[in-house]
């Protein structure tokens, strides 16, 4: 469960989030849509404590993360996996070492960690032959899936996706979307997906939130959103329709 209560965040006098409140329920898939530069990534970074709000509070399962210091954020970050927009893999480490990066607590022996690495690579449809490759030897789509595996490895119960399908080919996009769906439905993982892909949102989301100028422009089920009179929402919808037609 994730909850924002009146969060305001400004950078250099420019308000990015303005009294922003919303909630993602346990096991729910919420899509957060908005134009580029509207503070979608900033929203995600508040949840794992990479940014602190100027005003307001952020909760994860009733823990107020916005008041935790770096040392006490550890447990929250183990619970909340963040999939970054870039693959963000460490160039000098192999795929195996990258995926195992979050598995360094004492309970992860080397054998168990390797087992877990294979398992999570399987979840993102990558084979064990990639274990000893370096990120530079993989395609962008593969790197993004390795990055996803790295986030899944410690077994988070909440997942934050920052544009998980941007820059991916249609087939990988479908695979990643299916994975988000399965994780949520089979393992009751709570998912907050940042995107500007309305088509995926309509297919997958339990609810969709459209963020504009730091505030909620529209929030509701895909059916609600399709009926929204807001011009920006209509733009997103017609763009999604356009793409479906041209395929």
């Amino acid at each position: 469960m994730i909850r924002f209560e009146g969060v305001t965040k400004a950078f250099g006098g420019r308000k990015i989030l303005d009294d922003f409140s919303f909630e993602v329920g346990k096991g729910e898939i919420l899509f957060l849509l908005g134009k580029s530069g509207m503070g979608k990534s900033v929203t995600l970074k508040h949840i794992v404590g990479l940014l602190k709000p100027d005003w307001g509070r952020v909760f994860v399962d009733d823990i107020e993360v916005s008041c935790l210091d770096e040392a006490r954020l550890g447990p929250v970050r183990r619970k909340c996996g963040m999939v970054f927009q870039h693959p963000a893999l460490l160039d000098s480490l192999t795929v195996r070492e990258n995926v195992a990066f979050g598995l360094r607590a004492p309970e992860w022996t080397e054998a168990r960690a390797l087992e877990r690495v294979r398992e999570t690579l399987g979840l993102v449809h990558l084979g064990p032959e990639l274990l000893d490759r370096l990120p530079a030897e993989l395609s962008y789509g593969m790197q993004k899936r390795v990055s996803l595996a790295r986030t899944l490895a410690p077994g988070p119960d909440t997942l934050l996706f920052d544009e998980p399908t941007t820059g991916l080919d249609p087939i990988t996009t479908t695979a990643v979307n299916a994975l988000i769906h399965d994780l949520s439905r089979n393992l009751h993982v709570t998912s907050l997906v940042v995107s500007h892909d309305m088509e995926s949102a309509l297919k997958l989301a339990d609810r969709i939130l459209v963020l504009d100028q730091g505030r909620i422009l529209a929030l509701g089920t895909p059916q609600d959103i399709e009926r929204s009179p807001e011009p920006l929402v209509q733009d997103f919808l017609s763009e999604a329709l356009e793409r479906r037609r041209t395929r």
Partner: protein, 256 residues
């Protein structure tokens, strides 16, 4: 111009806080010598040819210059002492640390900056590792140690090269050249030169790590971080020389 100074003072404040954080991180980090030695070896090896080349020519240029003046007064017996003194006291550390700023400093700023803007730094934090400890600290220490190593080495090459240049181009007997050195220099001056080299290495490390670590705004931001790392390092080093040289000279004078 005013804006440039504004940006620089703002960065100087950020730099001070950054160095404090790195220092606190160092205090609570258990030393792990092996990767550090590997990193030092890598950095030193990569820059060795550049720095050796520079050391050699700094020595050579000064020999020719001093020889021109000294020969006019028939005082070439002082050449070895005067030249060595100039190389290790002032010009050598300055020019060679400029080169290190352009090479090691720019490389580090680009590397850390790329990690920052491609969210590797955030990813590491989210996976429960302190990026200052994991990414910055080893680079920081390696730069200081390898700068010290490279500066010392290139000063030695500069001095040795000067002997050869003095003989080949100015006809000065190497023995005469070398015996003149102790008349101008004592071990304390060598120690002061080492101290200076350590200080400049620290400046290269601090500025380049800080600029890279705080880069923002994608590829353009990385470019900006690299440029700033090189320029600020050079400016801070000039300023440090301006303060350190008279201070060290005064301390050496007082000690005698």
């Amino acid at each position: 111009m005013n804006r440039a100074i504004g940006v620089m003072t703002e960065d100087l404040g950020g730099l001070a806080l950054f160095v404090k954080d790195v220092f606190l991180t160092a205090l609570r980090t258990r030393s792990n010598a092996r990767p550090l030695v590997a990193q030092v070896a890598l950095v030193s090896f990569r820059s060795l040819p550049t720095v050796a080349f520079a050391g050699l020519f700094v020595g050579a240029i000064l020999v020719l210059q001093f020889n021109l003046i000294l020969s006019r007064y028939d005082a070439q017996i002082f050449l070895g002492g005067l030249n060595t003194s100039a190389v290790i006291r002032e010009v050598g550390p300055l020019i060679i640390s400029f080169l290190l700023a352009g090479k090691v400093g720019a490389y580090t700023a680009a590397e850390l900056g790329t990690m920052r803007v491609t969210e590797q730094v955030d990813a590491i934090r989210c996976l429960g590792t302190d990026p200052l400890q994991y990414l910055v600290l080893p680079r920081f220490l390696a730069i200081i140690l390898s700068s010290l190593l490279l500066l010392t080495l290139s000063l030695m090459i500069g001095i040795a090269g000067s002997v050869v240049v003095a003989q080949l181009l100015c006809g000065i007997n190497p023995l005469q050249y070398v015996t003149a050195i102790p008349r101008f220099l004592n071990p304390a001056i060598f120690a002061a030169a080492l101290l200076k080299c350590g200080l400049y290495g620290f400046i290269v490390a601090a500025v380049s790590c800080h600029q890279g670590y705080t880069a923002r705004n994608g590829a353009r931001g990385v470019g900006q971080a690299v440029t700033r790392a090189a320029i600020y390092t050079n400016l801070y080093i000039i300023f440090a020389q301006f303060i350190a040289s008279p201070t060290l000279n005064w301390m050496l004078g007082a000690a005698q």
